[in-house]
Amino acid sequence: MSFCLSHGRHHHGARTAPQVDWNKCKDCHDFPCTSICPNRAPKQCVREYTSDELLQILRRDFSSWGSNGGVTFSGGDPITQHDFLIEVLKGCHKLGIHTAIETSAHFPREKFLDVMQYIDFAFIDVKNMDSEAHKAGTSVGNELILDNIRALKQSGWKGRLVLRQPTICGYNDSEENAKKLISFMKENDLFEINLLKFHRLGQTKWEQLGKTYDYATGGEMTDEAMTALQSLYLDAGIACYIGHHTSF
């Protein structure tokens, strides 16, 4: 058995980090390197399931979630696996499992609405109300997202929608942005937003994948600034939560 880790069999005693050849790794499917280390130093982060396999696990764990439990589809963005997602969602509804999704909503209208009809609770990120700025930060404009939200509300969808904004200093923390977002929410009868103070918890994952993390410096928000933003929303009659202090 051979491994593509450049050190071959790595020695824990030696405390040297194994080097990964990402070119080889890209085309690999069975990742033998992850099975040799019982400490899971190299760890396979993804795994393929059929929708039946996944549903079987959900059914098993259903009894473990308590009365407020359910399943949250997250990502990446789960709608990228549209067909698979629909199969699993249908199964969840049959079992009576509450469903939630975290999505960018940046998908063609029908695909998006197709998924959403099986969703009880949704988080959608609105990162910036200025389309140019949105594009600068995420590489796409915000029009499709905002349109999808409008369409969702008009479709008679009965679920609960909470908007989310990772709040980054100098990017989307302005009063102007908040006011635009407030009026968008008012227009669409949305009343909940969750502001998430910028953090760097994702940094290690970027590094593990051998990529550069663009937000290594800057962007920090103070608690005071977060509270100030929160009161703008509250004054407008919008339930604004900061961080994990939420009602869900």
Binding site: H11, H12, A14, P38, R60, S64, W65, G66, S247
Partner: protein, 893 residues
């Protein structure tokens, strides 16, 4: 608040928002803090006062009836113990004159001291070193005296004894040379045809524990008698009983006559207990007489009043009642080397006293919390003097005085009392390893109580642990049915020791103008028998044809079988286990029988129902339930995972022969052994030249199905194992003439027993710890999340056994805030709903633990949960530290 108004208008409940702010935990009382400041500096100390007086009075009564002679000796040891009272204390009494004190019991086990006599005398007579060396440093080891220094001699690497006490220790021990419980039982054990087999087993550490080492404990205290009658009242009852029974058999030609002698003995022990209290009263008055400060003086005089009252009368306040229970507890732990003498459901026992004082306005909640905080220090100070192997190896220095909360009351309703909230509160404010708290989880318990308990678990001290009340009750009904266990008594069960379900009963306490049914223990020890059998080691011996390759000794007769099919392998394992059990059981029966004849409990025989009713001490089956002796396993999951690997790699895929697998294990899969490197950490691997040769087989062992992943391949083996033991173990009979059963707590023996076990087929390397607990996954092998682990753990009915043990490590960030508390409670509830018996948590990050390992001085107060108890990090051994660090840490729940 605006946010709530907005949500309310939208019809969303704001329940969770209301309490998003977690309440700050108030600081512990000043008295607690002052005593803890001293506690952290304390050395664990042994002295000879109690042992001297026991020995003196025992021999002065040579020729008296044994139960009376024994009671007199125990009474004398209590009544002559110099009282120590600190100016900041409100609750008083210690085991000895030292705060973390203990004393040796040479009448139980003398060989340890007698074999050391010469070297101890030499050490004691050596001139003191220079004065600069006479101090010691607190740091690694905490309060343990691991080395001799100055005028202090280290015994068992744990206790410090002053040099001037050594000649007394040596002199007292000599009296018992050849006649201690150990000596007498060994003498008769040697007449067994299989004694050599027994010795081989013990030498290999396949089984690691003699029953006489800690013959009491792993049971629950019963405080009823003195709470109901007071010591003077009991003396009167004894006289009545003597008049009634002395000289009569009551129809029992064997034990009937003993009744009169029992009551005579009880008079002696009650007088001793009473005098002990009176001595504390006198000492408090003595200190008050010389105390210049009015506040301290007043405090001393209050203590004197309390101690004088309880020396004679039944308690009439909460404080007196709590002090009385402490006195009884210390009295029991002073009559034998013991661990796991559990407090039981104290908050239910003392509720009537608390209720009255609060109603009368004579105390406040805060005063009660302060007393409960001080109580925590008292229990934390309980030390056990046993041999090095027991103190360090088995107990990790903890004496497991468990306090249970919740469960059901006599009427089958939630037993939670207002006082129990305060016990948890005290545990949150005053963080000490003992008493550890156990929640008897029942669907009937109030949610706010469970939330409070979960909030406490979150703080990272490892308590409360969570036990399933219904599973516990079912076990009681199953195990004790032949002795008349009914639903009422089943409701009174709780934890004895760290995790030993122990039977109880309710008794009617008349207080405050009403009758309250209070729970308490109703059996002797539920934790002696065949103790700590290393299941993976038995499997190793199957593969090596009975030879312990570590020592080269033939432990079991060679089986000479090819083991061509899996069932043949398993059958051989069962055969070796049975050889071991049959002989070890006989030897332990002899040990416990000699113990009960010469060393029968005195204090405990007063307290345990129905001893006083029957007029029989615990040794004569005086207690209500006696089918309490058991078989204790160690390394269950390491064993199951090893079986799974052998089944897969040898019998299913047939990729390797059994010989190839055995060869790889004997060569430690090509890694240097921990014996060689001195590093016992489970994640440390250093290759040898053979490494490449075994790389593939090692990978296949690591990748074989593992328990804890909801994989039926491995889980089915666990189920089969349990179904087998369920029917097999009762074929073993205890010295009480009752069937035995399965107890599954490794305590900390997974360290020493892992040490003597070579590499196992699951990929665990030689010498490293076994998996801890009985249903915890082996570290790092549970890869499918916690629900999958729960699924695996509950593939059999946990009420088949005395316990099952699940240790989880959570990262603190996973349970932040009130939402986090809810999540933790949901996690517990999930496991309980599936029928899981026990789950406990370490909520401390591995990073901090690693840091604490490097700089123990800076983490003197850091506590972790080990196998069923909480202990200071710095006072547990390194292999166990490594194991705790290495446990899978769940970052999300």
């Amino acid at each position: 608040m605006k946010l709530q108004e907005i949500l309310k208008a939208r019809g969303i409940t704001d329940e969770q928002l209301k309490e998003v702010q977690e309440q700050d935990i108030p600081a512990a009382a000043e008295s607690f803090q002052r005593i803890m400041d001293i506690y952290y500096l304390l050395k664990v100390t042994a002295d000879m006062e109690s042992a001297y007086w026991y020995n003196r009075v025992w021999w002065e009564n040579d020729g008296d009836l044994l139960e009376v002679r024994r009671a007199k000796a125990v009474a004398a040891s209590l009544a002559h113990s110099t009282p120590t009272i600190l100016p900041y204390e409100k609750l008083v009494m210690n085991k000895t004159k030292h705060l973390r004190g203990a004393f040796p019991f040479p009448w139980v086990c003398a060989s340890f001291f007698n074999s050391l006599a010469e070297s101890l005398m030499e050490e004691a007579e050596a001139p003191a070193e220079n004065e600069a060396d006479s101090g010691s440093v607190v740091g690694a080891g905490g309060g343990n005296v691991t080395e001799s220094y100055g005028e202090v001699i280290s015994i068992a690497k744990k206790f410090g004894m002053r040099k001037e006490d050594i000649p007394v220790l040596v002199k007292v021990s000599k009296y018992w040379d050849g006649i201690s419980v150990e000596d007498i039982s060994t003498k008769y054990a040697k007449t067994l045809p299989g004694f050599e087999q027994f010795q081989n087993i013990m030498d290999s550490v396949l089984v690691m524990f003699d029953s006489f080492a800690i013959p009491q404990g792993r049971e629950v205290m019963n405080y009823y008698m003195p709470l109901q009658y007071g010591f003077d009242g009991i003396l009167e009852l004894c006289d009545e009983k003597i008049a009634e029974t002395m000289g009569e058999t009551g129809g029992d030609g064997v034990l009937g006559m003993s009744r009169g002698y029992y009551y005579a003995a009880m008079k002696e022990i009650v007088k001793g207990l009473s005098q002990w209290c009176e001595n504390y009263a006198r000492k408090a008055e003595d200190l008050a007489s010389r105390e210049p400060d009015e506040a301290y003086k007043k405090n001393y005089l209050e203590i004197a009043q309390v101690m004088h009252n309880i020396a004679h009368k039944r308690p009439s306040t909460f404080r007196e009642a709590l002090q009385m229970t402490l006195c009884l507890h210390l009295g029991v732990v002073n009559e034998d080397p013991q661990s796991g003498q559990s407090i039981g459901r104290l908050g239910q026992v003392l509720q009537p006293f608390y209720e009255k004082d609060i109603a009368d306005g004579t105390t406040t909640e805060e005063e009660v919390v302060e007393l409960l905080e001080l109580y925590r220090i008292k229990i934390t100070c309980i030390e056990c003097f046993a041999s090095a192997g027991v103190s360090g190896g088995v107990l990790s220095g903890n004496t497991f005085n468990n306090l249970s909360l919740g469960g059901q009351n006599y009427d089958g309703l939630s037993a939670v009392t207002p006082l129990e909230y305060l016990i948890i509160e005290a545990g949150m404010r005053a963080q000490t390893p003992q008493p550890t708290l156990s929640i008897l989880y029942d669907e009937k318990l109030p949610e706010d109580f469970l939330m409070k308990a979960a909030a406490c678990t979150k703080l990272g001290m490892g308590y409360p642990a969570w036990m399933n009340n219904q599973v516990g009750m079912n076990f009681m009904l199953r195990q004790y049915d032949p002795e008349g266990m009914d639903l009422y008594d089943a409701r009174a069960w709780c934890l004895g020791g760290c995790l030993e379900s122990a039977p109880g009963c309710f008794l009617p306490l008349e207080y405050n103008g009403k009758v309250t049914m209070i729970p308490g223990g109703a059996s002797p020890t539920c934790g002696t028998g065949i103790h700590f059998t290393g299941l993976p080691k038995v499997l190793e011996l199957v593969l090596t044809n009975g030879v312990d390759k570590r020592t080269g000794k033939q432990v079991f007769p060679p089986h000479n079988k090819k083991l061509k099919i899996f069932d043949e392998l398993l059958d051989q394992w069962k055969e070796y286990l049975d050889i071991s059990n049959r002989i070890v059981n006989k030897v332990n029966n002899i040990q416990m029988d000699v113990w009960r004849k010469y060393n029968m409990p005195a204090v405990n025989s007063l307290l345990k129902p129905d001893c006083f009713k029957k007029g029989q001490h615990i040794g004569n089956c005086g207690a209500r339930y006696n089918a309490c002796i058991n078989f204790e396993s160690c390394g269950t999951i390491t064993f199951i995972n090893s079986l799974a690997s052998l089944k897969k790699n040898v019998y299913d895929t047939k990729k390797y022969t059994l010989e190839e697998m055995t060869d790889a294990m004997l060569h430690n899969f090509g890694f240097r052994t921990a014996y060689d490197t001195g590093v016992f950490s489970p994640d440390y691997r250093e290759s040898t030249d053979d490494a490449q040769k075994y790389a593939e087989i090692f990978a296949d062992c690591i990748n074989a199905p593992k328990y804890g992943n909801a994989d039926p391949y491995a889980d089915q083996l666990l189920r089969d194992y349990h179904m087998y033991l369920l029917h097999y173990l009762p074929t073993l009979e205890s010295f009480f003439g009752k069937p035995e059963y399965l107890c599954q707590i490794s305590v900390s023996t997974h360290g020493p027993q892992g040490f003597i076990t070579l590499a196992t087929a699951d990929g665990r390397l030689a010498g490293t710890t076994y998996s801890d607990g009985s249903v915890s996954a082996a570290p790092g092998t549970d890869k499918n999340g916690v629900y999958a682990l729960f699924e695996s753990a509950t593939v059999y009915d946990h009420s088949q056994n005395q316990n099952a043990q699940m240790n989880l490590k959570l990262h603190p960030s996973s349970v932040q805030g009130v939402q986090g508390t809810r999540k933790l409670l949901e996690l517990v509830r999930t496991y309980m709903r599936k029928g899981g018996f026990h789950v406990q948590f370490n909520v401390v990050s591995s990073d901090i633990l690693k840091e604490a390992q490097k700089t123990p001085d800076q983490y003197r107060d850091l506590m972790v949960r080990v196998a069923g108890f909480t202990q200071y990090w710095c006072e547990i051994g390194k292999p166990i530290q490594d194991e705790v660090i290495y446990r899978t840490e769940y970052e999300e729940v």
